[in-house]
Subunit: 226 residues, 2 copies
Amino acid sequence: MEYCKKTLSNRSKYSALATKLCFKEKGHAGKCSEFPYLDHFTKNAPTVKAKVVRDATMTTGASWKSDEAGPNRIIRWVMLLDDATLKTDFKLDMGKLKPGVVAKLRDKAATYDQCMEVAAMLTLAAYEMTGAPAPTKEVGAYLEQRFGGIVPGKTTCIVCRLPLAFDAFKKAARGKAEIETAHKNPREHNEKNVGFAHRECNIAQGNKPLDEFYAWIDGILKRVDR
Amino acid sequence: MEYCKKTLSNRSKYSALATKLCFKEKGHAGKCSEFPYLDHFTKNAPTVKAKVVRDATMTTGASWKSDEAGPNRIIRWVMLLDDATLKTDFKLDMGKLKPGVVAKLRDKAATYDQCMEVAAMLTLAAYEMTGAPAPTKEVGAYLEQRFGGIVPGKTTCIVCRLPLAFDAFKKAARGKAEIETAHKNPREHNEKNVGFAHRECNIAQGNKPLDEFYAWIDGILKRVDR
Protein backbone atom coordinates (compact mmCIF):
# COMPACT_ATOMS: atom_id res chain seq x y z
CA MET A 1 0.00 0.00 0.00
CA GLU A 2 1.16 3.51 -0.73
CA TYR A 3 0.48 5.73 2.27
CA CYS A 4 -0.77 9.32 2.35
CA LYS A 5 2.11 10.27 4.69
CA LYS A 6 0.89 13.79 5.29
CA THR A 7 2.31 15.32 8.45
CA LEU A 8 -0.06 15.34 11.43
CA SER A 9 -0.01 17.84 14.25
CA ASN A 10 1.97 16.55 17.22
CA ARG A 11 1.82 17.88 20.75
CA SER A 12 4.46 15.52 22.18
CA LYS A 13 7.55 17.15 23.65
CA TYR A 14 9.52 14.80 21.42
CA SER A 15 7.74 16.00 18.28
CA ALA A 16 11.00 17.20 16.74
CA LEU A 17 12.21 13.59 16.68
CA ALA A 18 9.54 12.02 14.54
CA THR A 19 6.91 13.70 12.48
CA LYS A 20 3.64 11.87 12.94
CA LEU A 21 2.35 10.76 9.55
CA CYS A 22 -0.94 9.73 8.02
CA PHE A 23 -1.06 5.99 7.30
CA LYS A 24 -4.27 5.99 5.32
CA GLU A 25 -3.95 5.00 1.68
CA LYS A 26 -2.63 7.68 -0.66
CA GLY A 27 -5.45 9.74 -2.13
CA HIS A 28 -7.90 8.77 0.66
CA ALA A 29 -11.08 10.68 1.37
CA GLY A 30 -11.75 12.33 4.73
CA LYS A 31 -9.37 13.26 7.53
CA CYS A 32 -5.82 12.01 7.84
CA SER A 33 -5.04 9.48 10.58
CA GLU A 34 -1.91 7.93 12.04
CA PHE A 35 -3.67 4.70 13.08
CA PRO A 36 -6.62 4.29 10.67
CA TYR A 37 -6.72 0.52 11.32
CA LEU A 38 -7.46 1.21 15.00
CA ASP A 39 -10.66 3.19 14.37
CA HIS A 40 -12.85 0.23 15.22
CA PHE A 41 -11.04 -0.81 18.43
CA THR A 42 -11.08 2.83 19.54
CA LYS A 43 -14.84 2.51 20.00
CA ASN A 44 -15.26 -1.21 20.42
CA ALA A 45 -12.24 -2.29 22.49
CA PRO A 46 -10.48 0.89 23.69
CA THR A 47 -8.12 -0.92 26.08
CA VAL A 48 -6.87 -3.12 23.22
CA LYS A 49 -6.35 -0.03 21.07
CA ALA A 50 -4.43 1.67 23.88
CA LYS A 51 -2.31 -1.44 24.41
CA VAL A 52 -1.43 -1.73 20.73
CA VAL A 53 -0.35 1.92 20.51
CA ARG A 54 1.52 1.81 23.83
CA ASP A 55 3.38 -1.43 23.21
CA ALA A 56 4.20 -0.48 19.62
CA THR A 57 5.55 2.97 20.40
CA MET A 58 6.69 3.04 24.03
CA THR A 59 9.41 1.29 26.00
CA THR A 60 8.49 -0.47 29.19
CA GLY A 61 10.26 0.97 32.16
CA ALA A 62 9.07 -0.74 35.29
CA SER A 63 12.14 0.28 37.26
CA TRP A 64 12.02 3.82 35.99
CA LYS A 65 9.79 5.30 38.61
CA SER A 66 11.24 8.34 40.29
CA ASP A 67 10.70 11.83 38.97
CA GLU A 68 14.42 12.29 38.67
CA ALA A 69 14.69 9.24 36.46
CA GLY A 70 11.96 10.37 34.11
CA PRO A 71 8.66 8.83 33.16
CA ASN A 72 7.88 5.16 33.47
CA ARG A 73 7.66 4.69 29.73
CA ILE A 74 9.26 6.65 26.98
CA ILE A 75 8.83 6.79 23.21
CA ARG A 76 10.97 4.12 21.60
CA TRP A 77 12.59 6.42 19.02
CA VAL A 78 13.71 8.81 21.74
CA MET A 79 15.86 5.96 23.03
CA LEU A 80 17.84 6.10 19.75
CA LEU A 81 19.40 9.42 20.81
CA ASP A 82 22.74 9.53 22.57
CA ASP A 83 23.08 10.36 26.26
CA ALA A 84 24.29 13.92 25.63
CA THR A 85 21.34 14.82 23.40
CA LEU A 86 18.86 13.27 25.82
CA LYS A 87 20.32 15.42 28.58
CA THR A 88 20.60 18.74 26.80
CA ASP A 89 17.51 18.59 24.59
CA PHE A 90 15.11 16.54 26.72
CA LYS A 91 16.44 16.78 30.29
CA LEU A 92 16.64 13.00 30.52
CA ASP A 93 19.78 12.10 32.44
CA MET A 94 20.60 8.51 31.56
CA GLY A 95 23.57 8.74 33.93
CA LYS A 96 21.16 8.82 36.85
CA LEU A 97 19.64 5.47 35.94
CA LYS A 98 21.05 2.12 36.98
CA PRO A 99 23.08 0.45 34.19
CA GLY A 100 20.52 -2.36 34.01
CA VAL A 101 17.70 0.08 33.37
CA VAL A 102 19.72 1.89 30.71
CA ALA A 103 20.49 -1.40 28.95
CA LYS A 104 16.81 -2.37 29.04
CA LEU A 105 15.70 0.97 27.61
CA ARG A 106 18.37 0.97 24.90
CA ASP A 107 17.35 -2.58 23.93
CA LYS A 108 13.85 -1.28 23.29
CA ALA A 109 14.82 1.58 20.98
CA ALA A 110 13.19 1.56 17.54
CA THR A 111 12.53 3.99 14.71
CA TYR A 112 9.16 5.65 14.19
CA ASP A 113 8.62 3.60 11.04
CA GLN A 114 9.31 0.33 12.85
CA CYS A 115 6.84 1.28 15.58
CA MET A 116 4.16 2.07 12.99
CA GLU A 117 4.73 -1.31 11.31
CA VAL A 118 4.43 -3.06 14.66
CA ALA A 119 1.20 -1.27 15.56
CA ALA A 120 -0.49 -2.40 12.33
CA MET A 121 0.78 -5.96 12.74
CA LEU A 122 -0.40 -6.18 16.37
CA THR A 123 -3.82 -4.94 15.27
CA LEU A 124 -4.00 -7.71 12.67
CA ALA A 125 -2.90 -10.26 15.29
CA ALA A 126 -5.64 -9.06 17.67
CA TYR A 127 -8.31 -9.47 14.97
CA GLU A 128 -6.97 -12.96 14.23
CA MET A 129 -7.45 -14.12 17.83
CA THR A 130 -10.15 -16.64 18.70
CA GLY A 131 -13.35 -14.79 19.52
CA ALA A 132 -12.16 -11.42 18.22
CA PRO A 133 -14.83 -9.06 16.90
CA ALA A 134 -15.09 -8.76 13.12
CA PRO A 135 -13.59 -5.45 11.97
CA THR A 136 -15.63 -2.75 10.31
CA LYS A 137 -15.65 -2.83 6.53
CA GLU A 138 -13.12 0.01 6.37
CA VAL A 139 -10.67 -1.53 8.83
CA GLY A 140 -11.07 -4.98 7.28
CA ALA A 141 -10.36 -3.63 3.81
CA TYR A 142 -7.31 -1.72 5.07
CA LEU A 143 -5.79 -4.73 6.86
CA GLU A 144 -6.55 -6.96 3.89
CA GLN A 145 -4.73 -4.60 1.60
CA ARG A 146 -1.70 -4.45 3.89
CA PHE A 147 -1.51 -8.05 5.05
CA GLY A 148 -3.55 -10.09 2.58
CA GLY A 149 -6.58 -10.61 4.74
CA ILE A 150 -7.64 -11.58 8.23
CA VAL A 151 -7.65 -15.28 9.20
CA PRO A 152 -9.86 -15.69 12.28
CA GLY A 153 -8.27 -17.87 14.99
CA LYS A 154 -4.82 -17.74 13.40
CA THR A 155 -3.03 -15.90 16.22
CA THR A 156 -1.03 -18.06 18.61
CA CYS A 157 1.25 -17.13 21.50
CA ILE A 158 4.61 -16.56 19.80
CA VAL A 159 6.35 -18.53 22.57
CA CYS A 160 4.16 -21.58 23.35
CA ARG A 161 2.18 -21.61 20.06
CA LEU A 162 -1.20 -22.17 21.70
CA PRO A 163 -4.11 -20.14 20.31
CA LEU A 164 -4.77 -16.81 22.03
CA ALA A 165 -8.31 -15.72 22.82
CA PHE A 166 -9.33 -12.10 22.37
CA ASP A 167 -11.14 -12.29 25.72
CA ALA A 168 -7.80 -12.78 27.44
CA PHE A 169 -7.08 -9.06 26.86
CA LYS A 170 -9.56 -8.45 29.67
CA LYS A 171 -8.08 -11.02 31.99
CA ALA A 172 -5.51 -10.32 34.63
CA ALA A 173 -4.07 -12.53 37.35
CA ARG A 174 -2.75 -10.86 40.48
CA GLY A 175 -3.05 -7.50 38.74
CA LYS A 176 -1.02 -8.48 35.68
CA ALA A 177 -2.53 -8.69 32.20
CA GLU A 178 -2.64 -12.18 30.77
CA ILE A 179 -1.55 -11.16 27.26
CA GLU A 180 1.70 -9.30 26.63
CA THR A 181 3.42 -8.03 23.54
CA ALA A 182 6.49 -10.18 23.00
CA HIS A 183 9.51 -10.33 20.71
CA LYS A 184 10.99 -13.38 19.00
CA ASN A 185 14.32 -11.65 19.43
CA PRO A 186 13.89 -9.27 22.37
CA ARG A 187 16.22 -6.71 20.82
CA GLU A 188 14.38 -6.20 17.53
CA HIS A 189 11.20 -4.17 17.43
CA ASN A 190 9.81 -4.71 13.97
CA GLU A 191 6.84 -6.26 12.23
CA LYS A 192 8.43 -9.67 11.66
CA ASN A 193 9.71 -10.02 15.19
CA VAL A 194 6.76 -8.97 17.35
CA GLY A 195 3.59 -10.70 18.44
CA PHE A 196 1.42 -11.48 21.43
CA ALA A 197 2.30 -14.01 24.12
CA HIS A 198 0.93 -15.28 27.41
CA ARG A 199 2.43 -13.37 30.28
CA GLU A 200 3.95 -16.54 31.77
CA CYS A 201 5.48 -17.44 28.38
CA ASN A 202 6.95 -13.97 27.92
CA ILE A 203 8.42 -14.12 31.42
CA ALA A 204 9.88 -17.59 30.89
CA GLN A 205 11.48 -16.49 27.60
CA GLY A 206 13.12 -13.58 29.42
CA ASN A 207 15.72 -11.83 27.31
CA LYS A 208 16.59 -14.87 25.21
CA PRO A 209 15.80 -14.99 21.50
CA LEU A 210 13.16 -17.69 20.93
CA ASP A 211 15.59 -20.10 19.23
CA GLU A 212 17.86 -19.86 22.24
CA PHE A 213 14.92 -20.29 24.61
CA TYR A 214 13.79 -23.47 22.86
CA ALA A 215 17.34 -24.87 22.89
CA TRP A 216 17.58 -24.01 26.58
CA ILE A 217 14.38 -25.80 27.61
CA ASP A 218 15.33 -28.73 25.37
CA GLY A 219 18.59 -28.99 27.32
CA ILE A 220 16.69 -28.88 30.62
CA LEU A 221 14.40 -31.71 29.56
CA LYS A 222 17.37 -33.80 28.45
CA ARG A 223 18.98 -33.44 31.89
CA VAL A 224 15.80 -34.13 33.82
CA ASP A 225 14.91 -37.72 34.44
CA ARG A 226 11.14 -37.55 34.52
CA MET B 1 20.47 -36.00 65.64
CA GLU B 2 18.81 -35.09 68.88
CA TYR B 3 18.87 -31.34 69.36
CA CYS B 4 19.53 -29.34 72.53
CA LYS B 5 16.33 -27.30 71.89
CA LYS B 6 16.91 -24.91 74.77
CA THR B 7 15.01 -21.66 74.36
CA LEU B 8 17.08 -18.73 73.15
CA SER B 9 16.38 -15.09 73.88
CA ASN B 10 14.40 -13.46 71.09
CA ARG B 11 14.05 -9.77 70.45
CA SER B 12 11.72 -10.06 67.49
CA LYS B 13 8.30 -8.47 67.85
CA TYR B 14 6.92 -11.83 66.75
CA SER B 15 8.74 -13.70 69.54
CA ALA B 16 5.47 -14.94 71.03
CA LEU B 17 4.85 -16.90 67.83
CA ALA B 18 7.89 -19.12 67.82
CA THR B 19 10.38 -19.68 70.53
CA LYS B 20 13.86 -19.65 69.03
CA LEU B 21 15.60 -22.91 69.88
CA CYS B 22 19.12 -24.23 70.06
CA PHE B 23 19.91 -26.63 67.22
CA LYS B 24 23.23 -27.87 68.54
CA GLU B 25 23.37 -31.53 69.48
CA LYS B 26 21.84 -32.44 72.82
CA GLY B 27 24.41 -32.28 75.61
CA HIS B 28 26.73 -29.99 73.62
CA ALA B 29 29.49 -27.98 75.23
CA GLY B 30 29.62 -24.17 75.02
CA LYS B 31 26.91 -21.66 74.19
CA CYS B 32 23.59 -22.55 72.61
CA SER B 33 22.99 -21.53 68.97
CA GLU B 34 20.03 -21.50 66.64
CA PHE B 35 22.19 -21.87 63.50
CA PRO B 36 25.37 -23.69 64.64
CA TYR B 37 26.01 -24.94 61.08
CA LEU B 38 26.30 -21.33 59.88
CA ASP B 39 29.19 -20.41 62.22
CA HIS B 40 31.74 -20.77 59.44
CA PHE B 41 29.84 -18.79 56.77
CA THR B 42 29.20 -16.07 59.36
CA LYS B 43 32.90 -15.24 59.21
CA ASN B 44 33.89 -16.62 55.83
CA ALA B 45 30.89 -15.82 53.59
CA PRO B 46 28.56 -13.52 55.57
CA THR B 47 26.34 -12.69 52.59
CA VAL B 48 25.71 -16.40 52.00
CA LYS B 49 24.89 -16.85 55.68
CA ALA B 50 22.49 -13.91 55.58
CA LYS B 51 20.86 -15.27 52.42
CA VAL B 52 20.35 -18.73 53.91
CA VAL B 53 18.73 -17.34 57.07
CA ARG B 54 16.64 -14.80 55.14
CA ASP B 55 15.37 -17.19 52.48
CA ALA B 56 14.71 -19.97 54.99
CA THR B 57 12.77 -17.83 57.46
CA MET B 58 11.34 -14.84 55.60
CA THR B 59 8.78 -14.40 52.87
CA THR B 60 9.70 -12.37 49.84
CA GLY B 61 7.49 -9.36 49.41
CA ALA B 62 8.67 -7.38 46.45
CA SER B 63 5.34 -5.60 46.04
CA TRP B 64 4.99 -4.94 49.73
CA LYS B 65 6.75 -1.65 49.87
CA SER B 66 4.73 1.09 51.48
CA ASP B 67 4.83 1.76 55.21
CA GLU B 68 1.11 1.18 55.38
CA ALA B 69 1.48 -2.24 53.87
CA GLY B 70 4.14 -3.30 56.34
CA PRO B 71 7.72 -4.43 55.89
CA ASN B 72 9.05 -5.82 52.65
CA ARG B 73 9.65 -9.26 54.09
CA ILE B 74 7.99 -10.94 56.99
CA ILE B 75 8.70 -14.07 59.03
CA ARG B 76 7.14 -17.08 57.33
CA TRP B 77 5.41 -18.45 60.45
CA VAL B 78 3.70 -15.10 61.05
CA MET B 79 1.92 -15.70 57.74
CA LEU B 80 0.23 -18.76 59.31
CA LEU B 81 -1.91 -16.48 61.48
CA ASP B 82 -5.37 -15.42 60.39
CA ASP B 83 -6.15 -11.88 59.22
CA ALA B 84 -7.86 -10.89 62.46
CA THR B 85 -4.91 -11.93 64.65
CA LEU B 86 -2.44 -10.22 62.34
CA LYS B 87 -4.43 -7.02 62.67
CA THR B 88 -5.10 -6.98 66.41
CA ASP B 89 -1.85 -8.51 67.65
CA PHE B 90 0.65 -7.31 65.08
CA LYS B 91 -0.97 -4.30 63.38
CA LEU B 92 -0.59 -5.97 59.98
CA ASP B 93 -3.68 -5.22 57.94
CA MET B 94 -3.84 -7.82 55.19
CA GLY B 95 -6.98 -6.11 53.90
CA LYS B 96 -4.87 -3.18 52.77
CA LEU B 97 -2.78 -5.37 50.48
CA LYS B 98 -3.72 -6.32 46.95
CA PRO B 99 -5.22 -9.83 46.70
CA GLY B 100 -2.26 -10.97 44.61
CA VAL B 101 0.19 -9.91 47.31
CA VAL B 102 -1.87 -11.62 50.01
CA ALA B 103 -1.95 -14.85 47.99
CA LYS B 104 1.81 -14.68 47.46
CA LEU B 105 2.48 -14.12 51.16
CA ARG B 106 0.10 -16.87 52.26
CA ASP B 107 1.76 -19.29 49.81
CA LYS B 108 5.05 -18.66 51.57
CA ALA B 109 3.83 -19.41 55.08
CA ALA B 110 5.73 -22.14 56.94
CA THR B 111 6.25 -23.31 60.51
CA TYR B 112 9.34 -22.44 62.53
CA ASP B 113 10.47 -26.07 62.37
CA GLN B 114 10.15 -26.19 58.59
CA CYS B 115 12.20 -23.00 58.29
CA MET B 116 14.91 -24.43 60.51
CA GLU B 117 15.05 -27.60 58.38
CA VAL B 118 15.33 -25.50 55.23
CA ALA B 119 18.15 -23.36 56.64
CA ALA B 120 20.26 -26.43 57.43
CA MET B 121 19.55 -28.00 54.05
CA LEU B 122 20.43 -24.79 52.16
CA THR B 123 23.69 -24.61 54.10
CA LEU B 124 24.52 -28.16 53.03
CA ALA B 125 23.62 -27.29 49.42
CA ALA B 126 25.92 -24.24 49.54
CA TYR B 127 28.86 -26.37 50.78
CA GLU B 128 28.15 -28.87 48.02
CA MET B 129 28.49 -26.25 45.27
CA THR B 130 31.46 -26.30 42.91
CA GLY B 131 34.25 -24.22 44.41
CA ALA B 132 32.66 -23.91 47.85
CA PRO B 133 35.02 -23.49 50.80
CA ALA B 134 35.55 -26.56 52.97
CA PRO B 135 33.67 -26.20 56.25
CA THR B 136 35.39 -26.01 59.60
CA LYS B 137 35.74 -29.32 61.42
CA GLU B 138 32.80 -28.49 63.70
CA VAL B 139 30.43 -27.47 60.92
CA GLY B 140 31.50 -30.41 58.75
CA ALA B 141 30.87 -32.87 61.58
CA TYR B 142 27.49 -31.33 62.31
CA LEU B 143 26.31 -31.47 58.69
CA GLU B 144 27.67 -34.98 58.31
CA GLN B 145 25.69 -36.12 61.31
CA ARG B 146 22.50 -34.52 60.01
CA PHE B 147 22.79 -35.30 56.32
CA GLY B 148 25.34 -38.09 56.02
CA GLY B 149 28.23 -36.00 54.73
CA ILE B 150 29.12 -33.29 52.26
CA VAL B 151 29.63 -34.24 48.59
CA PRO B 152 31.61 -31.43 46.90
CA GLY B 153 30.16 -30.41 43.53
CA LYS B 154 26.86 -32.24 44.09
CA THR B 155 24.56 -29.19 44.11
CA THR B 156 22.74 -28.48 40.87
CA CYS B 157 20.10 -25.91 40.02
CA ILE B 158 16.86 -27.61 41.04
CA VAL B 159 15.22 -26.45 37.80
CA CYS B 160 17.79 -26.91 34.99
CA ARG B 161 20.02 -29.45 36.79
CA LEU B 162 23.28 -27.77 35.81
CA PRO B 163 25.94 -27.53 38.54
CA LEU B 164 25.92 -24.35 40.59
CA ALA B 165 29.16 -22.59 41.48
CA PHE B 166 29.61 -21.08 44.93
CA ASP B 167 31.14 -18.01 43.26
CA ALA B 168 27.78 -17.27 41.66
CA PHE B 169 26.52 -16.09 45.08
CA LYS B 170 28.62 -12.98 44.43
CA LYS B 171 27.36 -12.46 40.92
CA ALA B 172 24.50 -10.24 39.96
CA ALA B 173 23.20 -9.16 36.55
CA ARG B 174 21.36 -5.86 36.31
CA GLY B 175 21.30 -5.69 40.11
CA LYS B 176 19.73 -9.12 40.59
CA ALA B 177 21.54 -12.00 42.31
CA GLU B 178 22.33 -14.91 40.01
CA ILE B 179 21.40 -17.62 42.54
CA GLU B 180 17.98 -17.76 44.15
CA THR B 181 16.35 -20.08 46.63
CA ALA B 182 13.71 -22.07 44.76
CA HIS B 183 10.98 -24.59 45.50
CA LYS B 184 10.14 -27.76 43.58
CA ASN B 185 6.57 -27.07 44.54
CA PRO B 186 6.36 -23.32 45.16
CA ARG B 187 3.78 -23.80 47.92
CA GLU B 188 5.81 -26.10 50.17
CA HIS B 189 8.62 -24.70 52.26
CA ASN B 190 10.38 -27.74 53.67
CA GLU B 191 13.70 -29.53 53.47
CA LYS B 192 12.72 -31.92 50.66
CA ASN B 193 11.20 -29.22 48.49
CA VAL B 194 13.75 -26.40 48.59
CA GLY B 195 17.05 -25.80 46.84
CA PHE B 196 19.04 -23.27 44.88
CA ALA B 197 18.35 -22.30 41.29
CA HIS B 198 19.61 -19.87 38.69
CA ARG B 199 17.58 -16.70 38.76
CA GLU B 200 16.45 -17.19 35.15
CA CYS B 201 15.39 -20.78 35.91
CA ASN B 202 13.44 -19.74 39.00
CA ILE B 203 11.70 -17.02 36.99
CA ALA B 204 10.86 -19.38 34.13
CA GLN B 205 9.41 -21.93 36.56
CA GLY B 206 7.18 -19.21 38.00
CA ASN B 207 4.53 -20.58 40.33
CA LYS B 208 4.35 -24.00 38.68
CA PRO B 209 5.47 -27.14 40.49
CA LEU B 210 8.56 -28.52 38.72
CA ASP B 211 6.69 -31.53 37.26
CA GLU B 212 4.16 -29.18 35.75
CA PHE B 213 6.91 -26.88 34.47
CA TYR B 214 8.67 -29.76 32.71
CA ALA B 215 5.40 -30.96 31.17
CA TRP B 216 4.69 -27.39 30.05
CA ILE B 217 8.03 -26.87 28.30
CA ASP B 218 7.76 -30.35 26.80
CA GLY B 219 4.42 -29.30 25.31
CA ILE B 220 5.96 -26.12 23.92
CA LEU B 221 8.76 -28.03 22.20
CA LYS B 222 6.28 -30.47 20.69
CA ARG B 223 4.30 -27.59 19.15
CA VAL B 224 7.35 -25.75 17.87
CA ASP B 225 8.73 -26.77 14.52
CA ARG B 226 12.41 -26.05 14.96
